[in-house]
Amino acid sequence: MRRTNVLTLQGLLLTSGTVFACETCRPAVEAGIFNEHFWGRLAITLLPFAIIGCVATRLHFAGRTEEER
């Protein structure tokens, strides 16, 4: 499910207007985005949000006892 979401997001981004904005440099921009660094850069961009998500999850359940869960 998560993989499907990632692929859908990728597909949307690939067909978005962003990469069409510069007709002459579009191939170079695509090559600069979707290269061997893509997944590493995605992980770097996501990492702070993942950590914040963990903190928010802990806060959400703060103070709940076991039987209430």
Partner: protein
């Protein structure tokens, strides 16, 4: 009286604070002032292609920031429907400030200090700008934490404090 739970309001406020703080970073520092981009230390935006590649990653950053904000709104709406969640302005305001501070601290430590993918303002004195960004985040966390602690005294659920 059943036990009150602040958790749903805390998580909603923190996520909204993170989202709003992230938009301050993205809109003010990336776009208006153009001090940095997501990958500007790895890929300096000194050509049109490099600038557009950075723009793509800035866009993804904004997309995740939007998702944080949306999640915060959903959680806030759900918290407002519960009778066991105290509707505290102090708690919520503290979480907004704390969330912004949390964003600055986490993003500052990971992206600026640890990975060095960008700095607040590249060039002479970039460390001072990075440390200032962190200090501002810590200040927001402290002020937000104090407000959240003060909000412990608030136990009234939404709507109960106001009578038409």
């Amino acid at each position: 009286m059943s036990r009150m739970h602040r958790g749903p309001l805390l998580s909603a406020g923190v996520l909204l604070g993170v989202g709003l703080g992230g938009f301050v970073d993205g809109i003010l520092l990336h776009q208006i002032l153009q001090w940095h981009n997501m990958l500007s230390s790895h890929l300096p935006p000194d050509t049109l292609v490099n600038a557009k590649v950075n723009m793509f990653w800035d866009g993804l950053f904004h997309a995740f920031t939007w998702l944080m904000t949306f999640a915060g709104l959903v959680l806030l709406w759900r918290a407002g429907q519960r009778t066991d969640v105290p509707w505290s302005t102090r708690t919520f305001a503290g979480c907004l400030l704390g969330g912004w501070g949390l964003f600055n601290v986490v993003e500052g430590l990971i992206d600026h200090q640890l990975l060095g993918v960008h700095h607040v303002r590249t060039g002479p004195g970039e460390l001072a700008w990075d440390l200032g960004f962190l200090a501002f985040g810590l200040g927001l966390l402290l002020v937000g934490g104090a407000l959240v602690r003060a909000g412990r005294a608030d136990v009234t659920p939404r709507g109960a404090a106001f009578r038409p």
